[in-house]
């Protein structure tokens, strides 16, 4: 539920504002009256193994919110972010999301949850009708499945299916040129890993029909030791390997595969390699790993993108992550939609958001679009390239073609029974 506000400060709301601070401590469940500022709630993961997801998301959001506030705020109201930790547990994510809306008076939600947590927040959005933008969950079904669709939820995240279409066609080109016929896969054993890997091989075979997958490995998420997986792949003697491991799992895997000299024996396609979190951490990064872009300040190679990456680095003394650009884009969307709607009302913003195209440093052509029919982000910069062990890490990125992506995505949706 979103509440509308009449302009001007009434005596009552001033008093409520004064009492709000005290009340939040004394009685967490006393709902506060509407304030001059517009509160945006953000449940995300700030502790545990993927705390970096939450911290780098929050950093990017704050960077953009400061800009919006400096420029006059969201339809004239200053934004106040309320970011809270869910510990990655779905029941906590649901609780925190409800609390943010019901108790803290947040009128909009940015959902920084991953995997199961995002589905839990999605149900809260369905229940409360509050505008919600998912910023970290790549699970395709969240927006592609019409059963999940609700008018007040959007997703501002890259998607595995897009990566796989671009990656499949890129990899097929190299497979044909180098004669790579025998492939192995190694991906984390959860929905994202399975779906993305399945889709990648589907498009790889489509563009290079004589490719054959001879070995599959499915290590658990956060598995510390990959030795048995590495040796299993070495036994199979493939010519190329695909992996969608990410973050610390990917760097562990690289370190462990390195001492078996695996990277000299096959071409490696690791879609999540070209993210600063992995690139800057791996000490002996092998040359020539093929990767999709995550966030990299040299792609798209525009001054806007480079400036954004530098501003983030200057403020937080670290490079942005893939999560960062997605969250920043979500704030940009909100700001633009609120301006167009001239309101902070969730319903009105949602109407404008569907189908909205905005200028954005992370767009393939300088713009990104919130697609109208399934409320998901398209038109972002997407491409593949090979890594080198020092900056700029991925010197050349071969851009993906959004026209092909749209065609194949429509086909994929049909095959899944989503359309």
């Amino acid at each position: 539920m979103t509440r509308t506000r009449t302009p001007g400060i009434s005596r009552r709301s001033t008093l409520a504002l004064m009492g709000a601070g005290a009340m939040s401590v004394a009685a967490p469940w006393v709902a506060r009256a509407q304030a001059k500022t517009v509160k945006i709630g953000m449940p995300t993961i700030l502790s545990g193994r993927v705390a970096q997801l939450g911290t780098s998301s929050r950093n990017a959001v704050m960077l953009e919110v400061d800009k919006v506030n400096a420029a006059g705020g969201l339809a004239g109201r200053q934004i106040e972010m309320v970011v809270r930790d869910s510990k990655g547990a779905p029941q906590e994510a649901a609780r925190v999301a409800r609390e943010l809306v019901n108790t803290d008076g947040c009128e909009l939600l940015l959902d920084g949850e991953a995997s199961s947590g995002s589905f839990a927040v999605h149900e809260v959005a369905r229940d409360l009708g509050v505008l919600c933008i998912h910023t970290n969950s790549e699970a395709s079904s969240l927006t592609a499945d019409p059963k999940q669709h609700i008018p007040n939820a959007f997703r501002c995240v890259r998607q595995g299916i897009h990566d796989s279409i671009v990656g499949g066609s890129y990899a097929a080109g190299i497979a044909k040129a180098k004669g790579l016929k025998k492939w192995a896969t190694c991906s984390p054993d959860y929905a994202y890993g399975r779906d993305t890997t399945g889709e990648f091989t589907l498009y790889l075979k489509r563009f290079a029909p004589d490719v054959e997958v001879i070995s599959e490995s499915w290590p658990k998420l956060f598995q510390p030791d990959y030795t048995e997986v590495v040796t299993k792949i070495l036994q199979a003697k493939p010519q190329a390997l695909y992996s969608c491991l990410w973050g610390g799992d990917l760097t562990s895997y690289i370190d462990q595969a390195n001492i078996y000299a695996m990277f000299a024996q096959m071409e490696v396609f690791a879609v999540n390699m070209a993210d600063y979190t992995a690139l800057t951490v791996v000490k002996n990064l092998p040359k020539g790993i093929h990767s999709g872009n995550r966030y990299i300040k040299t792609y798209p190679s525009t001054p806007e993108n480079a400036a954004w990456g530098d501003a983030y680095k200057a403020k937080y003394n670290e490079y942005p992550t893939n999560w960062s650009w997605q969250n920043a884009t979500a704030v940009m969307f909100l700001a633009e939609a609120a301006k167009k709607a001239n309101s902070t009302d969730g319903k009105k913003i949602a109407e404008v958001l569907a189908g909205l195209t905005i200028k954005c440093p992370f767009g393939a052509d300088g713009t990104v679009t919130m697609r109208g029919d399934d409320h998901t982000l398209v038109g972002y910069a997407i491409g593949w390239g090979t890594t080198i062990p020092q900056e700029p890490y991925v010197p050349e990125v071969k851009a993906g073609d959004w026209k092909t992506i749209f065609e194949l995505e429509a086909e994929w949706k049909k095959s899944k029974g989503y359309t």
Binding site: P28, L46, R84, A89, Q91, R95, N102, T103, S116, A191
Partner: protein, 339 residues
């Protein structure tokens, strides 16, 4: 009741009238508690307070049922959370796939839980002490692994998506927040009352005897294995009820519900509130949830805060809060009488 228990009940006949009196008192307290809780929405419009009580119902049922094992029988289960998850998943899956009325799904879930708990329990209760703890933990992890692996049925790591449908039954609409709240309170109070009856029944005293001296109980002709299995299944049923409340609250079921951390939280709640009084786990539930909700509002380093609080209880009080209060009270009363 088994023959044996009936036999024991006869032996306890002289105290029967006292027990009956206490039962009336318990029912009265339960009725008052329910009346207070159920009238709460009339006095406050705070959705968050209602959410809090709903979550207390889910965790409270779960933690109190664990205390039937830990406190009353001396069976330290590290895997009790599997029944919490089982309840949430069975209920969610039945509602999503079969579309039956909610009470039918509720009863069916309890039946499924009873069968699975009987199978797992039959294997586990043969073991004692720390080995019982480990084997229950292993079963919990096995169930968790299965939920993750069987993605076509359970949704894998993404859980049951798309929300749990809640058709109106008998004029009760669980999609309505206040209705859900009252229903949760009713389940909590009924569950607590039922568990209290079990704890105070002759069977409950049989359990205490097994806890204190299993060999002696066995010499007295009690079938220890059967009694342990019975309470294992009973406790699983109430844990499953807690899981159903949680599934309704989040409108879904997620693998985290069947993960060992839920069992860990249950143990933690019991230690926090105290295991030697019936309401200890309930006090622990309220304490832990309050603590969790407040601390996460102010810091993301809640691990340190929570850790220090635990240390205060473990090293400072050396027992759960209600145990501490109860002992302090007896101590004072005794001192007063002695004067």
């Amino acid at each position: 009741m088994t023959e044996l228990e009936a036999g024991r009940a006869q032996a306890l006949l002289p105290v029967r009238s006292g027990a009956a009196l206490q039962r009336y008192r318990d029912v009265l307290i339960a009725l008052i508690a329910f009346a207070v809780l159920a009238s709460l929405p009339m006095f406050t419009g705070s959705e968050a307070l209602l959410d809090f009580v709903i979550r207390c119902s889910a965790y409270g049922l779960f933690a109190t049922s664990l205390n039937l094992l830990v406190g009353y029988t001396g069976l330290t289960s590290f895997g009790h959370g599997m029944f919490f998850g089982l309840g949430a998943y069975s209920f969610g899956l039945i509602m999503q796939k079969l579309g039956v009325p909610i009470p039918v799904a509720f009863v069916a879930t309890l039946a499924i839980t009873a069968v699975i708990a009987a199978v797992i329990g039959a294997i586990c209760v043969r073991l004692k002490d720390i080995y019982f703890a480990f084997v229950t933990l292993a079963f919990q992890m096995l169930i968790h692994s299965t939920i993750l692996s069987w993605a076509s049925f359970t949704g894998g790591d993404q859980g049951l998506r798309g929300g749990i449908p809640r058709p109106v039954f008998l004029g009760i609409d669980l999609a309505n927040h206040v209705h859900l709240y009252v229903a949760s309170c009713a389940l909590l109070i009924l569950g607590l009352l039922a568990m209290r009856q079990i704890a105070q029944s002759p069977f409950g005293y049989t359990l205490r005897m097994i806890r204190d001296n299993a060999a002696r109980a066995s010499f007295l002709g009690i079938d220890v294995w059967r009694a342990k299995l019975t309470v294992f299944v009973l406790a699983a049923l109430f844990a499953s009820m807690g899981g159903m409340v949680m599934a309704l609250f989040v409108s879904g079921a997620y693998p985290e519900f069947a993960y060992w951390t839920i069992s860990g939280e249950g143990i933690f709640i019991n230690m926090l509130g105290g295991v030697s009084t019936f309401l200890g786990p309930m006090v622990g539930t309220v304490l832990l949830l309050l603590l969790n909700d407040t601390v996460t509002r102010f810091t993301e380093y809640h691990g340190i805060v929570l850790g220090v609080v635990i240390l205060f209880f473990a090293l400072g009080l050396r027992k759960g809060l209600l145990d501490f209060v109860a002992e302090w009270y007896t101590h004072r009363r005794d001192a007063g009488e002695g004067r």
